[in-house]
Symmetry: D2
Subunit: 391 residues, 4 copies
């Protein structure tokens, strides 16, 4: 049951531009693949680097028309907004501190924005970004890509339907090991900016991956955080941001939780794992094996749901392309965000309301995420006292 | 470390046509996604159905120029071969019995062929197909897509390097459950042609999935089959082809093995699993969790290799797009076949030899696969006596 | 819910003797622990070795009264049968070729026999053993210990209740790696006798572990084997018995199966695994994780049953001691055979019929197991032609 | 390689008495099986209930001499201490609030004590217990049974050897689901006393299972807790003790951790799980699959160590009875505590020092455990502020 019937080819594709994502970058390439999978998008323009030669070289790698490869994102915004056949949307895949200045230029010209997370590197900038998004007619899409996994949609659907009863406990974690040693001092580019508070923000592991974990827990459960208490560490000598964080969570309505994020846990590659327990049952999901969802109704045998398999419902099916037992992965989950964005943009272009079944993380998710990181840093500075999010 | 630097965009993509794969089809949609992932291909033409209206409707779904949507594959072959900007390659995704007549038309006009497996529904046709491929200058690529999984490349690389010593035992299986009941009588289209010997061939589960299992074992181990003994069953009353098969394998050089294929094993979705044991160690891999490969060197702790993680080598990296812990799946493995084909075709277009590190299943794999099914059916008819492949 | 309420202490325990199981032996120690777990037995006598000093030293290790430590099993049988407070039962844990001569001495004197598997090293001896058992009033218990695992009882109960519908396919395997190299030439005692056809029988891996796999499949499914075709190998140069075997199975009533046994599969410790598929569902179980049983009803989500957890029934509970989530293992499964034997013997002593819910493998299982090995060897010698069991 | 060579039989066994553990009790039966497995102990006396008839009935179930079945633990202590052949040790398996009054009677008469955890229901009583233990010549053994699992010993050995480098992060959890609903109001006896602060102590899940998790983390890592911050909940309306707890941990030397305990997490049976990460690698272990230990050396493939398999060392071997691949479980781990106690008592009886390789949880572990629960309750009452243990 592939769903690519909506995937138009030479005609009708949306036009995508990209800021950031040149040679040596990581996430830009992921965005490009994600944009291609369902055939909704064509990449046609970009400002891939602040170094003109690098930007041109990257554009050439990608087969772009050199005239649409820019040295400067604001020149790009101006020209693409004016030109016939200019881009419909821009993907922003720069380091975090550039998200706001870039987005502002496109939003104010009505170009839709698809922005990597976290929203910004500081909370004041996040608020400015929110204002810019509110005052623009363009859509703002944040790539909290894990919300695009089919079985995450399945989990959310089940909780919304009351299958777990009242939620009591949320356990969420995202563990990696790539910063176990002081790799930022060796010139590794990814480590360089991600551990630099100027470019990444005050949170290290909290901003890079903790915010994913928090977003995922919120998305699946539908719960709103009331307060948190965080104990953050920088285990590697000289590191300027946290590389491990322990957070206790209190949700409105009485549910409680814990969040662990770490980039110094050897053997963990991308160990994002969510467990939710309510009065009637539990759910467990792990990003590294994303086609499975454990459902544990209280007092009954454990059930292993598989994507599109028996017991898997319409929310998962809508995000799936192939039959159960043929695994879909990270790129397909990411592609789902791009495809949801495309559907919303097409509706807007057609002057129709955005269909209710479309979901993508938005500006509010973005502000909440930055506020989460900010709250973690504040709490930890006060010896892990309870703080609320400043949204 | 995405590898999409080679993925050209508006310029330079190869042009793909498709025969079969209209509405209600399954594998055509998979081929289309696979062709898009790495940005090497644009689908520009197709004969999606033998019913003209269906073909046009499918072409419209896909946004194709109506002039390049054909009612008839041979008209398509003729016109595309003549026209400027005609297709570089055709994807053949029809039921098995149509593979040969379709491929012949394109091969004889020098259009590269990417054909779904099994090669043909009969062995005589497979031999004709081989002749057609030999006498054509075009490439013939068979989508035994499981050979595109990165950790399958890793396994093959390790065995070729001698990490397992001399191979002794091969255990391979492919189990499904979707034909547990007589679904072909209910009008289910996929079940209809796949259980019809006229359209599918004399083998049922052996042809549909057993041939994948056999191809995978051969690809990974590099072993050549000497003979087999097969006991095939049609458990569902009235079914005209096998739905379960037990096969014992003898390889040249002394290795032995077993193959199990089944479409009546409840709880199995796409349970393709390979285990290989040699004098120095073992390897285990399962399609449903494809980013993992167990390596069990004799007398040492078991090791779990992850795609692109520690211990994973260049053969896997070449087939990968993203870091370890972010799962790639079935579609990416399938895309690897399309990307290998694209690289080979580009080399041919440039008048260069095909680089040695490129691998895709070819016409010989196809003939061997059909001969395997033929041998299973012959052996089973003789009470599971040993037979050799008629290649 | 521990079930040791029946476990009497200083009074009332049954008296156990042992033949074999001295220093350096393996399985004797397992039998002793198994006999102690539920408190039904006290070991009070033994002929632990044919070397008098070794037998005495082993008896002293175990704290036995030296007068009840014998040099010679037939002296032991005679004296224990005559003496007041003599043993109720004897555990025979010698190499296979000694099972019959030892058992005969005890059976003819009315002493119950608990014998390790396989029953004997040859089929003629197995028949003699059957005659000896039939003509004795004593019980004959064969320690096919895997039938004592609670979730194996659960599986059997479910199949008997029709939960799987009509059985179609049985996949069973037992893989090890300890004979990957020629360890018998290094003086390793266990490898020495187990690869010696004089002491072990004509089957190597088939007799040592294949017979366990076959027994388990038969026990769980209740199916009777009609015929088999076996391809056996001795991969290690100079080895005199098979170390790997591939067997196709045909059961009465139409079910088919495959059995793989191997002692040369690196990474496999005691990989006994059973999968059964019927018209209504499937079951999967693995000895190395014995507290779990997968149940896959066709068209419903997969269920993971845990020992004594939700969905686990009375047959498993009867064999369990502790709550779900606290694993029971190999020794408890083995102990269940000893406890079933004790309950049966107590009933006999009380002049009562043996309760119907008691199950232990018996002489018929033993003869069938030896006939299975014999059939494998015969079939393999005839190029894997189909043979029936000579029971 | 069974290690029951030290297991004496009719002669030489140590004599065990039991207080608590009558009909309907759970843990008493576990202690009895554990005491039998290695053949070191004979249960010969008991005060199984404070109701005389129940005590006698339980003693009769167990086949004890009625003269050694007592109505009253202090009568038992007096008489057994005086009589020839009186008990060597007493197992205390009562609800928590009785541990101290019972233990005092036996300790002051020089009878060794094997006491279930937690040590006592209050911290003042724990201190009195410590004094009683110090002033007695008898041994005090606390059954933190999880420390008896072989792969836990393996983990501890590896960390002590520096295999993980400097420890940074400890993640430990113990999740159950049996108190998801208000089962204490239904008359379930186990739930009744375990949720009654008078009998169980101020901690509910913290005292019942959190203390196990904390003990295990401390035992394996060798770290000393500096302070903790706990957020405890009683999710079930009317419950008088916590049924879920989130705890952040700070260890001396800089390591940090989190502990989660819950009895309201559906689908969790006995989910005790420990993960430890250091500068050089990580370890992961789960109680429900106790024969496995993941070792993840930084930058190398993950390794799965199996009990007694390749890479498993002497500390695990010392606690094992059977070869790898044959699972040992909860009862064997528990038996290891009994066997260590027996070895220590034999040494004392022989006037020899207790061998250094013997380890069992002792009075200090007990006081620390009660102080841990006390600290959790204090911290939670102060809105999860940091507190230290009052040891």
């Amino acid at each position: 049951m592939p769903i690519d019937g909506t995937s138009e080819q030479t005609t009708g594709r949306l036009r995508l531009g990209m800021v950031g994502g040149g040679r040596d970058a990581f996430i830009g390439g992921v965005h490009r693949i994600a944009s291609r999978i369902d055939g909704h998008w064509d990449l046609v323009a970009g400002a891939f680097s602040s170094t003109p030669e690098k930007s041109q070289a990257s554009g050439a790698d990608l087969g772009l028309d050199p005239k649409r490869v820019y040295d400067d994102f604001s020149a790009m915004a101006k020209r693409e907004a004016r030109m016939k056949g200019g881009i419909d949307a821009v993907a922003i895949v720069t380091p975090n501190h550039m998200h706001y200045p870039v987005a502002r230029e496109f939003l104010k010209r009505g170009i839709h924005v698809i922005c990597d997370k976290p929203l910004t590197s500081t909370l004041p900038e996040a608020r400015k970004m929110a204002k810019a998004a509110e005052t623009s007619d363009a859509l703002f899409v944040l790539t909290h890509n894990y919300t695009g996994y089919p079985m995450i949609r399945q989990a959310r659907e089940m909780i919304a339907a009351g299958d777990l009863g009242e939620i009591r406990v949320v356990q969420v974690e995202y563990a990696q090991d790539w910063l176990t040693e002081d790799v930022e001092s060796t010139g590794q580019k990814q480590a360089g900016w991600r551990t630099d508070p100027e470019r990444s923000g005050a949170g290290g592991s909290t901003g890079d991956i903790g915010t994913h974990a928090f977003n995922l827990a919120s998305f699946v459960t539908g719960l709103t955080l009331e307060s948190l208490a965080a104990d953050l560490q920088s285990f590697v000598a000289g590191r300027r941001v946290d590389d491990n964080g322990h957070v206790m969570l209190r949700f409105e309505g009485g549910a409680r939780g814990m969040l662990w994020c770490s980039q110094v846990a050897p053997g963990n590659e991308n160990g994002l794992r969510l467990r939710v327990y309510g009065t009637k049952g539990g759910l467990e999901w792990a990003q590294e094996d994303p086609n499975y969802l454990w459902h544990t109704p209280f007092g009954e045998p454990k059930r292993l749901l598989t994507r599109n398999g028996a017991g898997s419902g319409p929310a998962a099916a809508r995000m799936s392309r192939i039959p159960p037992g043929h695994p879909e992965g990270y790129l397909e989950g990411f592609a789902n965000i791009y495809s949801e964005a495309a559907r919303a943009i097409r509706a807007k272009k057609a002057g129709e309301p955005i269909p209710e079944d479309i979901h993508f993380p938005d500006i509010l998710d973005g502000v909440t995420g930055v506020a989460f990181v900010d709250a973690c840093v504040r709490s930890s500075a006060r010896n892990a006292s309870w703080v609320t999010l400043n949204i």
